[in-house]
Amino acid sequence: MTVDSLEGQIADWRAYVATAPGVNGHDLDELEDHLRHQIAELTAAGLSDDEGFLIAVKRLGDVDGLSREYAREHSSRLWKQLLSAHDEPTRVSGGWVEALAFALGVAVAIQAGRIAAGFPDEEPTWFARNLSLIVLPFLAAYFARRRRLEIRRWVVTAVPFVLGAVVVNVYPWNGSSATEAFGSSSDTEVLAILALPVALWFVIAYPYMGGLLRAHERRMDFVRFTGEWFIYYVLIALGGGVLMGLTAAILEPTDVDIDQVAAWVVPSGAAGAVVVAAWLVESKQRVVENMAPVLTMLFTPLFAVMLASAALVYAVTGLGGAFDRELVGVLDALLVVVLALVLYGMSARDASTSSPSWMDGIQLGAVVSALVLDLMVLGTMVARIGDLGFTPNRTAALGLNLVLLANLAVAGWLAARFLARRTTFHRLERWQTTYLPVFALFAAAVVVVLPPLFGFR
């Protein structure tokens, strides 16, 4: 046996192992080095190349088992298959019937709500308050079924929805008789309308994670899911917008009232897309996998530059001391977006590169700028509250800023240490996954605690 044929065998072996999910190029280099060592030792002991190769390969272990071990450690590489030893293999693009059933269910439910509310001719506030309670249980049920949760866990999933429904419908919202329009809602009611979907989204995490809320890796999976779901939802919404626009143009010459058509199609489409986007994330992951890191790579630097220049301008012009009410709202939204980007970027990061890259530096830049802006906003908030006292809106804004401040401060500190190679990326990730429940609790508090605190005004 010649050296060439041994090289050929090693190349074949390498090509074969390369097809295993969870194993990347660096792993292959490492395994190949091991294989060569083993072969050299065996041939030195008198075996032929061929024999040495066979024994060395055998000792490395069968490729399926190996791939599973790598996958378990590098779950982020493998979430696309969501295959680990104890999970049953997920149907790669299957399950569309199931998804369609849930999407139809939610589409019908939203229509029932719409007709009961008389929307869009009337805009009763109860419809706005209950919107997420109509839509998100379908998504929760979809995951509960897909993850084959036990009955007990179905019940646990349902509890927050029931509580939410009780709270938003039993609280005596000021001036919200059945005929009141959105515009005349009280402040606490508007806040509840905004915060309830957020709180309930975190409830989805429970069935999504198969009831394993403590598993930090799964929490990161949920973050990744949220980011990907959002991307798909936006894509579907764009497509839907084009469709509606063209439909309007086509129906123009006829007598059909486009508003009537839209009243049926848009709510159902928007609600159904919630489930469809989730299904797409679950089953078509490879597509987004290629797209999502690119999007984060593109937008994180842009947002970092934007934040840094904003912070600089405000600091130099002294504007930072006194933002007006509108701007505070915009800045808060901006901070949430930045945090979402950072979180998502973190979840999409290739875990095998443990040393900091330039992207980590840019993320730190974004976090620090956000921190500066957050402090400015916080200063304004405190001053405003000092002058004018607490109102529901100011309290919620203050709370949000504090929640963000704590997160950003520690995240910035850890990111700096990571860049200085004083800590591991794992720590950074851990901090964010540990912090996730804080967001959920804050959103829940805005719905449940804030309104009675301010007498529902």
């Binding site: 190996l66 450690e73 443990s354 794992h426």
Partner: protein, 116 residues
Amino acid sequence: MHIDKDLVAASATPLVLAILTEGESYGYAILKRVRALSGGELEWTDGMLYPLLHRLQRLGYVTTEWRTPPEGRRRKYYAITDEGRAALTGHQQQWAAVTRALRDVWPGSVMALGEA
């Protein structure tokens, strides 16, 4: 003697960390050392060492570096960190507690003889 799979798995982390306290090393050498230390009785599937090493890296117990020795191919070296040493101390305490307990209920067994 055949050593149970679960026991092999449980001892893998402390063993690897302990070997790395002897100095930085790479996969194949670590595995050879494991074989030598256990007199060949600890049977590892070679490939499984690497996911384990990667886990230790993620947890910050080891650092890695790719280096090319003058005569050979590019190779990944692992070195233990302070956190890794701390983790190893934790493991040692756990194993000490386990062996102590076993020794006490197995008077005259191989284990007690080994101590003598």
